[in-house]
Assembly symmetry: C2
Homo-oligomer: 463 residues x 2
């Protein structure tokens, strides 16, 4: 028995027309009369299902009319074109076999469910239209990212998840330990004795692979990471998760302009790939999740991204006449409301804001000649705000050392990072793309919990 | 200034012949006489470097003759074919600019370094021949895996890294916590009160994404994971790391044969992709790391993988006349020496061993009709032993419940996993491929520490 996927039938309908096919899938709905019935069968390979028509010529007709939503069936039948109906074809069943039953307490009965309810049954929600679309787009976007970088000869670096260095410094970290928490050993000074721990010192979950990725850029010229990162921040918002995936390319012999070009090319490549490979899913989002998202994605894909300095952006915001919740002044951190205004209302397209005040950006960003700003760039996109944050990296050893001192950081913790500058360091740049935020941008889903299969947030680590 | 990558020059040599080119890269070696010099320049984009010829017509000739190994240079020059020399072409420099100096204490001077020493400078080792080859192959293999599954419409599932369920049960786990280890809160019974912890309960690092991946297979039919997994095992061997990456496909409406076919197709696809995209690297491994590996990979790629039951494999081992360190008897776990004998000496190709005694395999593997064995499969390959382990999963709710009981596991911990059987469960199967072991197989590198950029092992979490 060779099963055909529903995707294949949709793609090569002609090949299967009037042919015998076998498919396996799950009942999304079933209606029947005394002598015949219709099943909407979805096998997960394609957003749409296929209509199965059956009648009492099949021996288990009665049994089939009674199967519940969610039942797994194996259908043998003939594919018939139905040019006068909503669906392009249907399968006239010659046999239907129950592969797996589904009782009436199946939580996904055919009706609208709230997103909150679906989170509680996260192990089943990929079977709904919304989440089958979200997680397929997530998968395609992940692949598009690999494809983009690999076709450009970037080397994929698996940077460490567990880190024993404090030097990432981008937020609260989770401790990773094998110590017996009930009776850890203490040192004389009253601190925990991590010598007894698995790694012989305190270890945490990474918040960024960037510093490690720089070691690859300075060997392979072009490198990228794509892995999970973690924040132990106690923020219960629709935009924060404790575990999320990041993409961090690093390019050597490259400056901030090269960095922005790379980010712009990458984002357009991803949008194009998703539009081409998930048109049904994006149409669904456009109709039922976020009206207009198809138009936005098309606009963004075809726009020349704007480029504006932070100083100019502040002027635009000050002159906008808008009353923002957070005050605008040179030196302030841009808030989501500011970012959305710039991208959505003012530029009406994605826009890079560059050259931020050095005080509000990380120590490793390259100091500009004005000594006040750094060669940073944030890409703002409509509806989302900041999607990408990057910079040219400080390659001058002495300047980097001064910057560490300004931030009160200890050079010893950065010995190898400093050595990258000492041993054949080059100008280089990179950025970080939060993968979940990208998926939200592509789907119009507004809660990060709904773009991760099993989200981890404060107080929640179910499944 | 538009830089050309060395890879591009090798691929499209004709296009650049007698043309002006600009390249940036790092000095691997330099020799000079009074009036001219040669530089072996490597820009990381290609395994091989390019020979730069320069003479005292460039204004900073003296300076350039003195730059150290590891210095970053930007070269302008003309590409000249050199049909009578070892290298196919060279670049006659018209200008050489020092982008980043490299002092004499650079640890990677041109000489042989031990693998142990190179581990100590893991942040620099991608600049050596061996590690540039290893990490490029690693990157290509990762991409080949995504390509294989995505072209077959598998959905990539990012399964959780942090897990609060104990139900993975495949080894020692790391605790993930934000508790103050110096003064955690205790409950009345003397246990730690994890209510105060970030997730409100005890959390750990995942040892496998399989159970979560099954939720995706039962929605999308075909799904896969590719992410980091963790073992807190105190094993200091060349084969164990605390942090490593795993690929875990799951397929619905599929049995053990489908599973083996998938594994065989996947491995052949990966080998083929790496041979096609990294011929220089594989040739290097064949010459300097593991003689004969090219032949082995070609053999394996073109072989029909063997298939043998565990019972037959035990007979083969018993009749082999070999004296193994570990005794062979029906019911024993196959050791690496047994696996290597079967694959390398007996079958002389990759071989699947199936239908293992249920006692030595996991609870979720499907019980065979003999009630003694389970529908498991291990793929053994020459030189490595077990590369892939998989099984048809137990889809029968009542059998799965009995198996949990046999293993002394608590049904409550598996409520959603059991529900997957209750709600439209289907026959399904999957396997796990340890990514580092795959890279060892592809490169001939024998220590897992040398196929991970920054390895994490007992007592080691540097960089």
């Amino acid at each position: 028995m060779i099963m055909i996927s529903v995707r294949k039938i949709y793609k090569d309908t002609e090949q299967f027309t009037n042919e015998k096919v076998t498919i396996g899938g799950w009942v999304r709905s079933l209606r029947d009369s005394k002598t015949f019935g219709f099943i909407d069968l979805n096998d997960g390979t394609f957003f749409k299902g296929v209509q199965i028509v059956f009648d009492d010529s099949i021996e288990n007709f009665k049994e089939i009319t009674k199967v519940g939503v969610g039942t797994a069936l194996i259908i043998e039948g003939t594919l018939i074109l139905t040019p006068n109906q909503k669906q392009p074809f249907e399968i006239k069943a010659t046999s239907i076999e129950v592969e797996g039953e589904c009782p009436p307490d199946y939580p996904l009965q055919k009706k609208r469910h709230s997103m909150e309810f679906l989170r509680e049954i996260a192990y089943l929600r990929p079977r709904t239209n919304t989440f089958s679309a979200v997680f397929r787009v997530r998968s395609l976007a992940a692949y598009a990212i690999h494809k983009f970088f690999q076709e450009r000869n970037f080397v994929y670096a698996h940077t460490p998840i567990i880190t024993a260095s404090d030097c990432e410094g981008a937020g609260e970290m989770f401790t990773v330990t094998t110590l017996d928490l009930k009776k850890p050993k203490f040192k004389e000074d009253g601190e925990i004795d991590f010598k007894e721990d698995f790694f012989g010192k305190m270890a945490s979950l990474t918040v960024s692979g960037q510093l490690s990725a720089e070691t690859f850029a300075l060997a392979f010229k072009d490198a990228y990471t794509f892995g999970p990162t973690f924040r132990a921040e106690n923020s219960n918002t629709p935009r924060h998760a404790a575990e999320f995936w990041m993409i961090e390319p690093e390019i050597a012999f490259a400056d901030l302009n090269d960095d922005m070009n790379l980010a712009e090319d990458m984002l357009k490549f991803i949008i194009n790939y998703v539009l081409e490979n998930a048109p049904e899913e994006i149409k669904f989002f456009d109709s039922f999740v976020s009206k207009g998202i198809l138009q936005t994605l098309n606009n963004d894909m075809n726009a020349d991204f704007g480029r504006v300095t932070y100083t100019e952006a502040i002027e635009i915001l000050e002159k906008s006449g808008k009353s923002f919740e957070y005050p605008v002044y040179w030196g302030c951190d841009l808030q989501t409301e500011h970012e959305k205004f710039l991208s959505q209302e003012y530029f009406k397209r994605p826009v890079f804001v560059i050259d931020y005040p050095k005080e509000i950006k990380a120590f490793y960003m390259r100091l500009n000649d004005d000594k006040k700003t750094v060669a940073a760039m944030d890409l703002l996109v409509p509806a989302i705000g900041e999607l990408i944050g990057g910079s040219q990296r400080e390659e001058r050893l002495d300047v980097l050392q001064s910057r560490l001192a300004e931030f009160g950081l200890n050079e010893d913790d950065y010995w190898w990072y400093l050595n990258l500058r000492k041993f054949g360091g080059t100008r280089h740049a990179g950025f970080g793309l939060g993968f979940e935020r990208l998926v939200m941008y592509l789907t119009g889903i507004t809660n990060i919990r709904d773009v991760i299969p099993f989200p981890r947030t404060v107080g929640k680590a179910d499944f």
